[in-house]
């Protein structure tokens, strides 16, 4: 996915202006001339200048505003991309409630299915991988992975 340099430069220029505006509210450091706003301010000026140059350079080229790569134009690949990002959001939002094991199974089956793995194999791999990762992190490394729905069966 190639976005026109001027668009990226423009957005980043706005970002640097927003930072410059935001740091005005930072209080000066007690008893010092150099407060918390100085450093981010200098970086924002640098970012703003570089973004402006990028936007200006972009305008001088005959570049299309947006070029989608082959993958982003293929529905199958686009679905795989959406499922990848979606399954991460699903995991973050629901892993506390549903628990690691349920979420991991769902994520693994969905992603493998999206990548074209046969359903039976996908389910088998999902169960095996979930149990291995759970054992490694929960049992061996003592990471408190949530049990969620399966709390009653915690082992």
């Amino acid at each position: 996915m190639r976005i026109h340099d001027s668009l990226i430069g423009g957005v980043l220029l706005l970002l640097s202006l927003a930072v410059l505006w935001h740091i005005q509210g930072f209080p000066p450091a007690a008893g010092q001339q150099y407060g918390p706003a100085l450093f981010p301010g200098l970086i924002a000026i640098g970012l703003g200048a570089a973004s402006a140059v990028l936007a200006w350079q972009g305008l001088r080229t005959k570049q299309p505003w947006l070029v989608l790569s082959e993958g982003l134009r293929s529905p199958r690949h686009l679905a795989a991309f959406a499922i990848t990002v979606g399954s991460m959001v699903f995991y973050i939002l629901l892993s506390e409630t549903l628990g690691f094991i349920v979420c991991s199974l769902v994520v693994l089956v969905a992603l493998q299915w999206a990548c074209g793995v046969r359903p039976l194999l996908a389910v088998a791999v999902a169960i095996a991988a979930t149990l291995v990762i759970h054992t490694c992190f929960y049992k061996l490394l003592k990471v408190p992975l949530p049990w969620g729905l399966l709390q009653r069966f915690a082992w």
Partner: protein, 501 residues
Amino acid sequence: MDAVLLALQMVATPTVLVVMLLSGIFGMFVGAVPGLTATMATALLVPITFFLPPVPAVAAIVTATAMAIFAGDIPGALLRIPGTPASAAYTDESYAMTRKGQGETALGIGLVFSCIGGLFGTVVLIVAAPALAEVAIKFSSFEYFWLVLLGLSCAVFITSDTPLKGLITLCLGLLLGSVGLENPAGHPRFTFNSPDLLSGLSLIPAMIGMFAISELIRFTLDTSKVAEFKAQIGSVFKGMGGLMRKYPKQTLRGSVLGTAVGILPGAGADIAAWMSFAMSKKLSKEPEKFGTGHPEGLVEAGAANNSALAGAWVPALVFGIPGDSITAIVIGVLYMKNMNPGPMIFMNNPQNVYAVFIVFILANLLMLPLGWACIKASARILRMPRNVLMPIILVFCLVGAFAINNALFDLWILLGFGVAAWVLEENGFPVAPAILGMLLGKMLEENFITSMIKSDGSWLAFVERPIAAGLAIFTLLLWGGSGWLAWRRRKLRPITDPVPA
């Protein structure tokens, strides 16, 4: 001497040796599977190293990366798909050798000369790091300020094709690094009243996101098909002695250049390989043979990319400034393990530094048997279905990023940085400067503010001490030179040229 013995005792434990063996196998595997990089291997290892004592943690990363950089040559030679970007420079050459029926020689060169290059880089690390540390101990905030600025400038101007885009990602990294309470004034910046952001953006989830999640996204959108390789590979060590006698100068040149490029902040094994392959062709007596399956360039670039790995540890250990994205992750791990990098580590904990040196030597020697086994098993590894592997890696990333702070918020960082890194790379923005910016931002700001307070706001104080003045001149020359080059390039190129998509 006591410290060396102590270090030997620290390394020669079953835990360290088993960890090295396992991480070596892991590194070989990750390197040999196209699409998984050595940096990704390091990022995936971090959650595990978090739970290990310091020496095995460092040993795991050193071994895995050394193996991965070599193993990247395997699919390059057999399928013409580089396993890691560090092998991309000479993939065409090694594949041409395979087509001529010299596949085992191409792989043998990768293995043997990687080992030689890696050992050379280790020797430089052993000699240069303590010597530099003695100088570094005299550094004040002024020198550190210039050093960090020089390092960041190198990452932007020398190692990136598009310095302007590198500068932008560096600024973004520095801005992201300034989030949180941990600034000289102790004022919460860019936290938007969120307690999760008070301690800043967690670096490890950010790195796993940038180096692993972005690869996964790229994989889901990849429409190309991976070719299959079925043939058996013969003896890989045959003829290596002859090549060593025939190309001693090339081996040395590749190792020296690789180490030097590794030491430069921001430049890693991949840039070392590209530069030394180009140099080999330029200085060769038979440049016309390049591209037809000629071993000379492979010897030089194969040595270069592994020596760069050790070279990158020199600034990382001495100054806490990473030489490449792998050492950027390593510095995070070292801080996590209370092995804070910097010149004082050589005074306070010399045994830890010697242990790292010993681990480097062992890892490079371990490469020979493990590499041989990996080449033998390569047909199986290359057949590994990536559409099964990638989803497992995704769950591993989620759990790994969570494991560092046991915080779900870190997973948002993982996702955000992953998507951002993918978009940036698609548009030609290098992501390494962003990581360096996040990592070094605090150091730069602290030394800048301290210097300003010490000098009472006088800019002249920044160039009054001789080393600081020298570093300042270097930095300004680098900026001036890069600006001039960019201006010349633009002048020579007609502005109507369409930019390739």
